[in-house]
Symmetry: C2
Subunit: 436 residues, 2 copies
């Protein structure tokens, strides 16, 4: 029961993680993505919005409840006024699964744990090859400074850099120059940096960069990046983690490390709609990001009346996207995905045995066996067996006059069709043994 509660978001889910949230709670946290917030009006006329992610409500929860240390996960729906793309698992309303660590700790230890968790999940789910890109907002800011971007344009240029996963550099540069008013020079200098990828070695090399290393922000970010990779080494996840200077992430609230996990696999072009193939190569549509996150040390303070900060780092997993990939995988494979865990169907071959079937079903339920019975007075044996085949129930417990007289049940293996008479007293153990 406690576990169930944890899955629902724990205690904190009860009052504060409201889906319906005052619009001002969300204002000023999402940068240019703010246009995707669903705004609503309630009966009282107060301006309300649907929550955009689980991070802002979490930060607000910590501030309102004066919590300074917590590690928790939370699975719940969020809303984006975006263009949906069904086959890629991109919806306007979708579940996210968030994991966050809040508290004042030594540098990069919780950050490394978040990356380890993303690695574990993607590895375990067997979704094919993946990459986890890592960067740091302080490195980006330092880079913008040494490239000559004016301070007040850091956030908006950051949003433009963030588009590099969907747009070519040429187009990103055009936006920087034409829309955001950077000079060509400055844009080109950014272009050099954002083409860099590596690991601990890149962090070390950039710490030698005469300009970057002189910038306080960049120096702090690069030192932490080096430390992060040393922990990732201990966690044995560096084979998939890349320090990538083009990773920006659009949201305003990040203050340090940021990361994003990308599956290498593409969806076959045949199952994606033409609209979804825009910008995709001919081989198919890239699934794109399935997890992302970072450090947000200032967000809790924005909700605290005295501005008290609680450093936080976390990750959001796009479980709907992951499900949509798993479903497509299941569709193309011959394996049928079972949707129930039923161990046995209680059936009968003769008429007028409903009461005996219900009695046995109840006994099995009481013994902790996952049992089903068809809700018919006199179902045909064939339809009972077909139900098992369709739903993947592995065993049938068959009752007949003779079995009742003998005190046994005929236990049938649906796949092999093998049948054996089992004494009533041994039935529970026999079912458990055969459905382990």
């Amino acid at each position: 029961m406690l576990q169930l509660k944890a899955q629902l978001g724990g205690d904190e889910g009860k009052h504060v993680f409201v889906l319906k949230t005052a619009k001002e709670t969300l204002t000023g946290k999402y940068g240019e993505d703010s246009k995707l917030i669903y705004d609503l009006k309630d009966q009282g006329g107060e301006l309300l919005s649907l929550r955009y992610d689980l991070t802002v409500p979490f930060a607000r929860y910590l501030a309102l409840n004066k919590i300074t240390n917590i590690k928790r996960y939370h699975i719940a729906k969020v809303y984006r006024r975006d263009n949906p793309a069904m086959t890629r698992g991109r919806y306007r309303e979708f579940y996210q699964c968030d994991f966050d660590i809040a508290g004042q700790y030594d540098a990069m230890i919780p950050d490394a744990e978040c990356l380890k968790i993303v690695y574990e999940i993607l590895n375990e789910l067997d979704l094919g090859d993946f990459r986890i890109k890592v960067n740091d907002r302080r490195i980006l800011d330092g880079m913008f400074a040494v490239c000559g971007v004016p301070d007040e344009k850091f956030r908006t240029i950051c949003s433009t850099v963030d588009k590099l996963d969907k747009m070519a550099w040429e187009d990103v540069k055009k936006e920087m120059v034409n829309e955001k008013g950077l000079s060509e020079d400055v844009a080109d200098r950014i272009g050099e940096y954002v083409s860099m990828q590596g690991g601990q070695d890149l962090a070390e090399r950039l710490l030698q960069d005469p300009k970057l290393s002189q910038n306080k922000q960049a120096f702090a970010g690069l030192t932490d990046m080096k430390l992060l990779f040393s922990y990732l080494e201990l966690f044995q996840v560096t084979d998939k983690v890349v320090f990538d200077l083009s990773l920006a992430r659009g949201l305003d609230y990040y203050t340090g490390v940021i990361y994003e996990a990308i599956l290498s696999q593409t969806i076959p072009a045949s199952v994606s709609t033409p609209a979804e193939q825009n910008g995709a190569d001919e081989a198919g549509v890239s699934v794109g990001s399935v997890a992302g996150g970072g450090r947000y040390d200032g967000l809790v303070g924005m909700f605290d009346p005295k501005g008290r900060k609680v450093p936080c780092v976390g990750v959001s997993i796009g479980i709907e996207r992951i499900f949509s990939i798993m479903e497509q995988k299941a569709e193309t494979s011959s394996e049928k995905v079972r949707t129930t865990e039923t161990q046995v169907l209680v059936a009968s071959a003769q008429k007028n045995l409903l009461e005996e079937r219900l009695k046995l079903t109840s006994q099995l339920w009481n013994a902790g066996i996952k049992a089903e019975v068809l809700y018919k007075k006199n179902p045909k044996l064939l339809s009972q067996l077909q139900h098992c085949e369709e739903t993947g129930i592995p065993l049938v417990a068959i009752l007949g006059e003779q079995e009742l007289k003998d005190g046994v049940v005929k236990l049938r293996n649906v796949a092999s069709r093998e049948e054996v008479d089992v004494p009533r007293a041994d039935l529970v153990d026999e079912i458990k043994k055969r459905t382990l």
Copy 2:
């Protein structure tokens, strides 16, 4: 993963069980409770509401996806514009846990399963004594007819009868006469019926009632009630189930059997606020209904363009109320409720062992052990042990220079303080054995 998905409401959660729902979807389903629906306006100006329960979205899902057979559970939030009462677990936003069986089956078999499930849950959770009241909308309608209530007043009188769990008969009668315009005679005749409680015997007795048995609706309801009790007998749950003619349930969509589970336990007056004690006896506040449901054979048809019906029966479990009772129980008992499942904390007694702690933690994670490590470079052993005591972690794996040299880990039982050196190769098995 599939299990996780089921907990999120399964496939159906993805598109159709939207929380934000067009207002017209909810209109005309909840009777007088409709005033509790949260209405919202989205940016486009379309009238929207927050879902009121999980039943209406489920019915809509079946209709839109042409599903004629399904058995599923769904845990999610619903919204009521009601007066909250925190200590009783009554919120404006709260989780419900619904179980429903849809499909054309033989009478009362799925209905009996729903009651069995409510019984099992309340029994298993050990929340003290409880009662499950059962009635049938057809019996109520038949009763209203033979008492002389005009047809068009059936639903509104039903809502008034529903208040009998909170109001005395005198006040309910007053509402029937003064507000709903019934004559005293008619109200008194209703009063006689709604005082009746029993089991299968009451159904049999009422089938002999010359007026009721002549009414088609009542006859069908009573015949089914008798059958239902025969199945409940087989399921061995009749000790808690009461056929109670005063049970009405306010919602419009029920068409047959209805039920409601009530805990006998009260919350001590000391923890309830004065406002919540209105109408409660001095001993404390009654928790009231923790589960309810019934048969709704017409609801799916309301969403089907051709009006095709899918008979359904289901139950909603008020898990927040149940949690609030369990929490109060935990508070008054000396047992501390653990909020994590962590099996072991990886600790060290000396400085400069962070890397070794992280390496061991990662190894334990990879072996499926729930391990934690403090996010500090050099935490004190005492603070590591205190963390275990506070959070209930039963084991500490302690690393030191000597242990590293010897290839062992000191495994400490937090409660008994007993320590034993375990070879690294045996550590996983040892932890599993001690935390079974």
